[in-house]
Amino acid sequence: MPSVMNTSLTGMLAFQRALAVTSHNIANANTPGYSRQVVDFSARPGTGVGSGYIGGGVQISSVRRMYDDLLGENLQTATTGQARFSTLNDLASRLDALLADPDTGLSSSLQSFFGAVQDVASDPASIPARQALLGEASSVAERFQSLDGQLDDIGKEVNAGVRGAVGDINRLASSIAEVNQRIAVAGGLDRAPVDLQDERDRLVRELSGKVGVTTALQDDGTLSVFIGSGQTLVIGNNAQELAVQQSEFDPTIVNVVYKGSAGTASMDRSLTGGELGAYLEFRDSLLDPARRSLGQTATAFASQFNAQHESGMNLSGALGEAFFDVATPAVNGSANNTGTGSVVASVGDLGGLTGDDYVLTYDGSDYALTNFSTGAAVPMTGSGTVGDPFIADGLELVVSGAPAAGDKVRIVSTAEAAGSVRSRISDPTSVAIAAPTRATAALGNLGDAEISQSVVTDISDPALLSTAVIEFTSASTYTINGAGSFAYTDGDPITINGSEVTISGVPAVGDRFTIEANSGASGDNRNGLRLAGVQSVGVLAGGTVSIGESHSRLIAAVGSTTHQVKSNLAAQDALLTSAEDAVMSQSAVNLDEEAAKLIQYQQAYQAVAQVVAVANSLFDSLLYATRR
């Protein structure tokens, strides 16, 4: 028969423990990820006394944590999403501010450069104006370099971020595996301390902030974690590792690889969400395209300006030199190459240039070109020799040497161009503002034919600067330098020595027109006007996009992506807050509730203690009765 003493003792023990659980809850009121614990009481079965059963007191059947797996998973997803957009937002906003700032951006610098060109065009003989142009030229070059340098710095930070995130993921994965083991050793969820589950949930949540994961709870209480396209990160007490590997083409590019039991596999494209996913996403969809686009602008600007400058004549009567230095497309051989092949890349057609990176692979007999980012095959024409280079997407590739089968090179068409822009001219008289040739009509001409200004159509003509005299032998025929007889048609263009002129009107016999080197023409600005026109003339994308447009497209693209990221971040913040609220309202401690429980258990404890006193007095009564 259960004694009153024993029954009350079970109550005292149970309420003591319940009070302990409550105080644990109160102590952990501010512990992040802590799930409040509740005590389940149940009545101890009684013993039969013939007329029925008398209960045997109370026992604690379990100590549970209040936690909803579904809400927990929601929180995990929201954490991944929020971490992704928060990291993206930080990076994209910096890029956005960098590119568009009126003080650090390229637009204002390009604008003042072309303003200076206009100033020289309006006053070509002015040395101060030429000097100012050279100043603006070096500041444009510096702006390109500094933008490129800052993009480079962001790239380095991204690399460091990737390394950091990979380290964190590996640390968290091994911690989860450890908790798994402790739970398994304790004999499953029912036997293991509930705080271990909290600890594991906290770890998984932290991991979700680093990268998107999926989890599955196993029967033995362990949690399996998968990343990417289903690769196992943690299974049981076993954690796999991610690692950072340098690209075979360029040690400054890092890739994330999965070190599975079957060797390493690239993970770059399958890792999404979280900090790591955001770093990779930012690099692939914003940073690298921005560098390519900036490089494309730099290449177009420098090449186009150079070409026009080389088509002019400077103050010393020589043809203009290249105004800017700009690097040709970079060629990086793979570290795994075994042959001795080499590839030289150059820009053939600005209009065809995409700015993308490519991989040229030699298969033992043929070369094949693929897009580095998409892996898509890119058709090439030509045979790869100097005379007949491979031509694809505006690039010209010349191959030589003896590559081995499987050798690869990466061709960076423009991404490294912006950092290489330098102003080459330091002498103001070397700025070629005049046209190289001029056309003049002899003063003694009796006819009323007039000659237009000459336009250079072929700057490489070796006889460009030689003097050519057109002399009319009749109203409809002329000789050139006294030789030949050419038919004259009023208003038709005449091309001599790479210069084109138009004679119109009726010439008289003996009328002479001269095309000659435009030496001493310090006041001529014909090439200056063309140089100023470089700003607005379409060069890229098949000749439809000007230099200025190319850059404002980049700013618009980065701006709108950043805008999108910002609004996504706001949405993810709200999602995360609501997921957190949901989990917290289920799991976190409410101090008032605990205070109430404190009172409740205290009173219950006092009550059972009173029962002990009653039992005691019963016993005393018995003793007293038997003493007599």
Partner: protein
Amino acid sequence: MRTSTLGSYQSGLSLMQRMQAAIDHTQKQVSTGRRLLTPSDDPLGATRALELRESLAGLAQFDRNATMAQNRLSHEESALASVNNVLQRVRELALQANNATQSNETRAQIAVEMREHLDQLVQIANQTDGNGRYLFAGGKLDAAPVAKVGGSYTYSGDQGQRLVEIGDGRFVADGDSGDAVFFRVRTGNGTVQALPDGANTGSGVIGAVGTADMAAWVPDRYTVEFLDDTNYEVRDSGGALVTSGAHASGEELGFLGVRFELSGSVAAGDRFVVEASPNQDVFSTIDKLASAIEMSVIDDTSGAVQTNGINAGLRDIDQAIGRILDVRTQVGSRLAAIESQVDNNSNQSLIATELLADIEDLDYAEALSRLSQQISTLEAAQQSFVAARQLSLFDYL
């Protein structure tokens, strides 16, 4: 719904933080006066703003160019006005000298003044625009364009004309070459000139030359030779007979659509040359005129030579005056074009500035009222947070 103590702390806190971020944003807007702080605030607007700022910078540049061109053209205009005055004065002097009342001495004085004017004209032709750039040298600015070399005037500039961009795709020439202004001037009536041969012994004087029928005119060098004092033959440069006829003093003589007046008395063997007008620079024109005036007249023959010289000079001076007038008209229309383009540019920049302000600038009234609303919301949130946190059951234990 159940609320947890930690959760309500956190949500209260994050609400306040969000409010603070909003206040921070508004405050930045107010302190910079800009609605758009970064392009991502309004990517479309930011791109548009960038374009507008570029076009404003372009318009400002066009205005700079226009000011430069205006300055040069004004200098040119004032130089051309002086040239015109000089030529008019030279013309007056020539008319004065062409009077029978003048003696060799008085004519010599006139010639002296005329040569002074010639020097002045050379000076004007070598004028600069105030920045040391020769006005009439075309593109060759390194040396003064007009010089007298070995008795004749040479032009060392070129025939180039500098264009300046004063509007989008709108170019205007900021000057004229000395070749066009002073050197490439046709003599005679601009098409045909008639001059006596230097060896004439008669006193034939050529009057006005007219081209009655240009379609009949075949450009060549024709010689009118008098066989006696009335009959003449006209032969072309190849010596072929074009026409022949008789001429009485004071009548017009004509062939192939060209007519000229011939007065005085001609002698047998006297020749007159009719040909397509060559170019003659205005300096040589004055020089020749002065030489004609200077020569001493001793008989009818030398009188005729002088009169012919002065007449030819007057015709050439008129051509030069006509040329200067043409150029001045062009300069005037360029200046007018610049002015209207500058007006146009300033209208455009006004519009662009307004559009830019619409996109970028802050509506202060709206922003300040938003700011004060945000601040009072934050204050209310802070007060209620503190009040709610003071409620605890533990206080009553």
